[in-house]
């Protein structure tokens, strides 16, 4: 799972608000310009972000892994024409769905770059800036708790699987394997959530903590100008 990795790259140094704005713009452009040309431009942008943030391509693409079965299935299902019998494969019908699936991968990659370069507290500060008041605080706290919890739960489930493998779970039937790891993983998840709650309580988790200062620098200006030019270019072509 993609987590924040401390670093000194230019993307690490960008203001989280800039990164969120860029992410939202890329998502909007990917949906508005789901054309080969538009997606080539956005792919170039996504690849540049991955390189500049010092994130490996393997990890960036792994961010989309949970959605990959659906993204692959969508064009396949679209290509099957069931209006006649036997059903026919119509490759041309899959083009639109393939482009739609591909744009989602680009959005996942950009999100992976954000997660890799932005500490949770900065995200919390950015969300509170975008959504002022109690709603913003609640939203920011929720995001912060989710992003603190998910990696540890995932690591716990990984440990459950390793422990089961070490005790030859592969000799069990598939159904039994799913049952054992599923129930153990669920139990561990609840235990972990309890322990994390305790740790957050012990360390005085607050609604209004001191959040990092958000500083909009020259690099943020350049990034915003660049994304605006990219958007205008895509609108023109």
């Amino acid at each position: 799972m993609i987590q924040y990795d401390p670093g000194t790259t230019i993307i690490h140094q960008l203001d989280p608000r800039t990164k969120l704005f860029v992410q939202a713009t890329v998502a909007a452009l990917a949906f508005a310009h789901t054309t080969p040309r538009g997606l080539i431009v956005l792919s170039g942008f996504a690849i540049s972000c991955v390189i500049m943030s010092n994130l490996s391509f393997r990890r960036a693409i792994s961010a989309a892994r949970p959605a990959l079965p659906f993204l692959i299935a969508a064009p396949v299902v679209t290509a099957i024409d069931i209006s006649s019998w036997p059903p026919e494969i119509v490759p041309a019908a899959a083009i639109g769905a393939s482009l739609a699936s591909y744009r989602v991968i680009i959005i996942f990659i950009i999100a992976a770059v954000y997660l890799h370069t932005t500490p949770i507290r900065q995200s919390q500060a950015a969300i509170q800036w975008f959504v002022p008041g109690r709603v913003g605080r609640l939203l920011a706290l929720g995001v912060s708790v989710v992003f603190r919890t998910l990696p540890v739960i995932r690591a716990d489930i990984h440990r459950v699987r390793s422990a089961a493998k070490a005790r030859l779970i592969q000799n069990q039937t598939r159904r039994e394997r799913v049952r054992i790891i599923g129930t153990a993983g669920l139990r561990r998840t609840f235990e972990r959530a309890d322990r994390l709650t305790l740790a957050l309580q012990a360390r005085c988790l607050a609604w209004n903590p001191t959040l990092p200062r958000l500083v909009f620098g020259r690099a943020d200006g350049v990034a915003l100008i660049f994304i605006i030019i990219t958007a205008m270019f895509l609108l023109i072509i």
Partner: protein, 238 residues
Amino acid sequence: MIETIALQHSYDETTVIDGISLTIDDGEWVVIIGANGSGKTTLVRHFNGLCTPDSGSVIINGTPVSANLLAARTAVGMVFQTPRDQFVAATVEADVAFGPENLGLSHADIETRVSDALATVGLSECRHARTSELSGGERARVAIAGVLAMRPDHIVLDEPFAGLDLSARASIQDRLRTLAANGTGLITVTHDLEAVINDVDRIIVIQEGQIAYEGSPTSACQWLSTHSVDIVSPSILS
């Protein structure tokens, strides 16, 4: 000062704390020992309001914990048995800063506290490291730093030596001695009495949710040697 009055706590039908009354002074180093399941961890969790008593009360610096939870948690820091359970951020710096941020301190104060806490545990150079990449001993020290940064009057350490090798254990011992010398009250829950016996002011023995004995290390060892309590190594008693 930490004070408990007739503290009672049960899990379902099982009574784990059975009317404990005790006082721990500021700057005092107390070690709590007892068999597994004797109620040690539950007792210390009451000190900073992580457990709610069935009856009785816990008073921190003159204020009941139930009346001001934040004050209790600021005055009594808790270092958990497994440091990994305590980490809530990806990097050492962010994790140590988490407590002071929640106290709403200024950025300058937070920076000072994080630097001081990391210097105290000897981990200034690991400031930007990922918590997942630390060794067991370093994790234990970061967990202590996370609590130190809140500048508590007392620190509760639940099994601070569990799972550590000899050098990591010695390093934690040194840090605890430094803290005690600086006037921080320490409450150590441990099975490893040997690691702290020469440094502590008082030993409290818990049996079946009650204080079976409390006194100086010398008198506690005498008591332990004359009672059939299999919770410490015979080599310490001799």
